[in-house]
């Protein structure tokens, strides 16, 4: 694994007994001795600490309008101290990556997927030039779960006043922390950017709290799937549009009616008006067998032509059942529609369901 990048918490992961795997060019913990199922349930009941330092952190010293030209999202209207989910799109309306955009007053701060970070920086530089400053000396921790606020308030009490998608820069015993009240587990929680040389002591301080356990990529994936959140590279890519991906909510009204200059606007706005030909949906297999990425979906148990396919699937520890998401032709996308997934040569029933599988518990 010598070519893989390591986060500043690598030694701590080993000390905690993590099983390390290759992920997006990084050597990351997939699970700790507790195991994926218990890590998942612990996050839902208490608080889980995730090392997400592999994700790209980028500062943009630019006019919000310049970034807005790259995304179908209202960046100009994003208030200071707030964060918003966004998508880089291409001229065909396909998704280049999904990201978070925060307005921090004199600059914008974005967080992008690890595997796409290099490409995103190049994409941003083509449009924004020297205004793009990748942050190379900070770790990123995610503290997720119902006890997150209690835990983080012991380090920095002001976080209790933050609402979902607020961002703040706070001074602490661990230096300045860039905090957002957000995450990707469907839970209340925080993402905390901390200087590399303070990351391990901060992680240890959080882990010292009896509510907190270290959580690996395995549980991160099942948590986000239960929360109905798509994963770039699995559920989103350049062949899917935001409308097909059921992310139309991320396109504010002002970008549909007035400031419509964004890559792929023609296709995306047309799909918003007339509906896409296919849609991302939740899928609940009827039996116990998980249906994973690649499983083809059929309208009945004899047709030869699939009506869709699964892009993510696993066992959902909190819903105690197998869960999947995927794309199906719009005429088969209504919740309750019964489809058949082809698994090991057998067609097994699977119901289209609304997402998420488990309601989110964000502090609005």
């Amino acid at each position: 694994m010598s070519d893989l990048k390591r986060t500043g918490l690598y030694d701590l992961h080993l000390e905690l007994g993590a099983k390390m795997v290759s992920f997006a060019g990084w050597e990351m913990p997939v699970q700790y001795p507790m195991g994926v199922l218990k890590e998942h349930l612990h996050t839902r009941a208490d608080a889980g600490l995730f090392d997400v330092s592999h994700m790209g952190q980028i500062i943009l010293r630019t006019d919000p309008a310049a970034l807005e030209a790259l995304v179908p999202v209202d960046v100009i209207g994003l208030p200071e101290g707030r964060q918003r989910y966004a998508l880089f799109t291409n001229d065909e309306g396909g998704i280049l990556d999904d990201l978070m955009i925060a307005n921090r007053g004199d600059h914008l701060f974005v967080v992008v997927n690890a595997a796409m970070a290099e490409q995103d920086v190049a994409h941003l530089r083509r449009a924004l030039g020297d205004a793009v400053e990748p942050v190379t000396n900070r770790a990123l921790l995610a503290l997720q779960g119902p006890k997150s606020e209690d835990v983080l308030a012991e380090i920095t009490p002001s976080v209790v006043t933050m609402r979902f998608m607020d961002v703040a820069v706070v001074d602490s015993d661990f230096g300045d922390l860039w905090i957002s009240r957000s995450g990707y587990a469907g839970e209340d929680g925080f993402e905390i950017s901390v200087a590399d040389d303070r990351a391990e002591v901060l992680a240890r301080a959080l882990l010292a709290h009896p509510s907190v356990a270290p959580i690996g990529l395995g549980a991160r994936d099942s948590l986000r799937l239960e929360a109905g959140l798509p994963l770039y590279g699995s559920d989103l890519d350049t062949t899917t549009t935001p409308v097909e991906a059921d992310l139309g909510w991320a396109i504010q009204k002002v970008r549909r009616t007035a400031r419509t200059g964004f890559p792929g606007a023609h296709t995306i706005l047309n799909q918003l008006s007339h509906g896409p030909a296919r849609r991302r949906v939740g899928l609940a297999p009827k039996g116990r067998a998980p249906m994973r990425a690649g499983v083809e979906l059929f309208a009945n148990d004899t047709d030869q032509t699939p009506v869709g396919h699964i892009t993510s699937g696993a066992f959902g520890p909190s819903v105690e059942a197998p869960i999947s998401m995927g794309y199906v032709a719009t005429e088969h996308s209504a919740p309750g529609t019964l489809l058949y997934g082809e698994l090991r040569g057998k067609r097994l029933p699977v119901a289209v369901t609304a997402l998420p599988f488990r309601p989110a518990t964000y502090k609005r």
Partner: protein
């Protein structure tokens, strides 16, 4: 007791071989969330895929270690797949197979050989 390179244990008693996976395999697989067992009465050949187990990470197959007839399966595992992690070499056996030619068992590892194999 005999062991296969696929990390199955085989326990023979009067021509009936009980098959499960080793504690080592269960630990490597992680939390098991799904088990699909074969039909009682089915005739299987060595290396047929007879059991599907899925962990939180991935699906894997258990192969028939011998030619024979499936005479019993451990049905409760279907509803409680986590048992495989708790007691892989005890209660969480998968199936029992009636074997014609018990000499096939000779090809497999002893416990000492298996321990060496996984070390």
């Amino acid at each position: 007791m005999k062991y296969t390179e696929q990390h199955e244990w085989l326990d023979e008693d009067e021509g009936i071989v009980t098959v499960g996976i080793t504690a080592h395999a269960a630990e490597q697989l992680g939390d098991i969330v799904f088990v699909e067992l074969p039909e009682v009465g089915s005739e299987v050949s060595k290396d047929d895929e007879v059991v599907v187990i899925e962990s939180v990470k991935a699906a894997s197959d258990i192969l028939a270690p011998l030619d024979g007839e499936i005479v019993e399966v451990n049905d409760p595992l279907t509803d409680d797949p986590g048992k495989v992690n708790e007691d892989p070499e005890g209660e969480a056996w998968f199936f029992k197979i009636r074997v014609e030619d018990l000499s096939e068992l000779d090809d497999y590892m002893t416990e000492a050989e298996y321990k060496k194999f996984i070390s």
